[in-house]
Symmetry: C2
Subunit: 224 residues, 2 copies
């Protein structure tokens, strides 16, 4: 499906040499975009550079030219997306710091909205960063995880001190549960979307953020 829909776009492959005019510099961006989609859909090992190059309308040699090798391409894809998400998280948590909503609520909302714009990030993460001990993991830790945790932990401590967070829960496990609630729908959408009945489009965050906040605020139990 991914093939047949995108294939007919670039049927002709030109003669060697620098292309004329306004196409210049575009190939790198198209390669990143094609690679993000294919890495998310088929994983690192399951993605062939030939297919990425074909999707981007260039030859595989261009990947070596711009990114060195396959791992370099994956790294470029990942850091490009992660930087954008981290920026959104920083903006949401540094916000004033005064009387706004509890920090964990702002964190959840910002994360869900950022992921809605980059739905391939969780899939690449789980497939290539979470389970395997690849060089990418260090990139992820340094470039994203450590900074994100540095934002969240003091915010949680502030919530706790202000009495806006239960004191009898293990903070480690709270982080785990909250991240899981936020990230899992993006992982499972291709299967559970049709089955349960949801779709990740521009409106998804608008629907899922209130639900998640309501669930986190009071749990599942009926009001007594």
């Amino acid at each position: 499906m991914t093939d047949s829909t995108r294939n007919a776009r670039r049927p002709r492959r030109g003669r060697p040499g620098k292309p004329a005019g306004d196409d210049g510099g575009d190939a790198r961006r198209r390669l990143l975009q094609a690679a993000a989609g294919q890495f998310a859909a088929a994983g690192f090992a399951g993605t062939s550079l030939r297919a990425v190059a074909r999707d981007a309308g260039v030859t595989p040699a261009m990947i070596a030219y711009y990114f060195g090798d396959k791992a370099g391409l994956m790294e470029a894809v990942l850091v490009t997306g992660l930087d954008e998400v981290l920026g959104a998280l920083e903006a949401a948590l540094d916000d004033g710091g005064g009387d706004s909503a509890p920090a964990l609520e702002r964190f959840v909302a910002a994360e869900l909205e950022a992921l809605t714009s980059h739905p391939w990030i969780p899939r690449i993460m789980v497939q290539e960063v979470l389970s395997k001990d690849t060089p990418l993991r260090q990139v992820f830790v340094d470039r994203f995880a450590s900074r994100a945790l540095a934002l969240v932990r003091p915010a949680m401590a502030a919530d706790l001190a202000a009495g806006r967070l239960r004191a009898d829960l293990d903070p480690r496990l709270v982080i785990l549960s909250v991240i899981g609630m936020c990230v899992f729908p993006f992982l499972a959408e291709p299967l559970l979307g049709p089955l349960v009945g949801y779709r990740i489009d521009d409106d998804f965050a608008g629907e899922f953020v209130p639900h998640t906040l309501a669930l986190l605020a009071q749990g599942l139990g009926a009001k007594s």
Copy 2:
């Protein structure tokens, strides 16, 4: 790491022919075990049959003999594990039906305990079933998802009728959030385990089940 630790076990590969005595029938089981580990760690495309066979102490031709081809091996791995998990869920939800804990609580506890015994299942699912439209997906839906949902949905309805579940939440999204909370720690353990501070061993369910139930029961908010 996976290589060097498991490698030295079966250094010698015998002469051709049926092995004598009590080894018979063991190769199939060892292949399933080795394949589960490698599929979970490296994904379907990232796993080579040569490596699985080496890990199991046989030749790659044995995989064709027992499972036909690579896809058949993966399918056998998956259904073997899923059947065991489904059995645990059925046992937990069919339990009497009387005055025990809310069904969603029993579901959560049973799922977490079953996954603790088969921690590779969520990783294979996310990597090979959730995101890609492979033949495995139908296997998963028929063999597990449809039956599990058939167990959960009436149980949730009963909870709702008995006033043990908030009526103002979207049931579709509740299922999504609950599954995400349960499954995500298994996906993220290789990365977040050392970082956040938890390990999936025999005691994990004993620690995580009470936390999850407490969080689901009342949410994060401090008691007023």
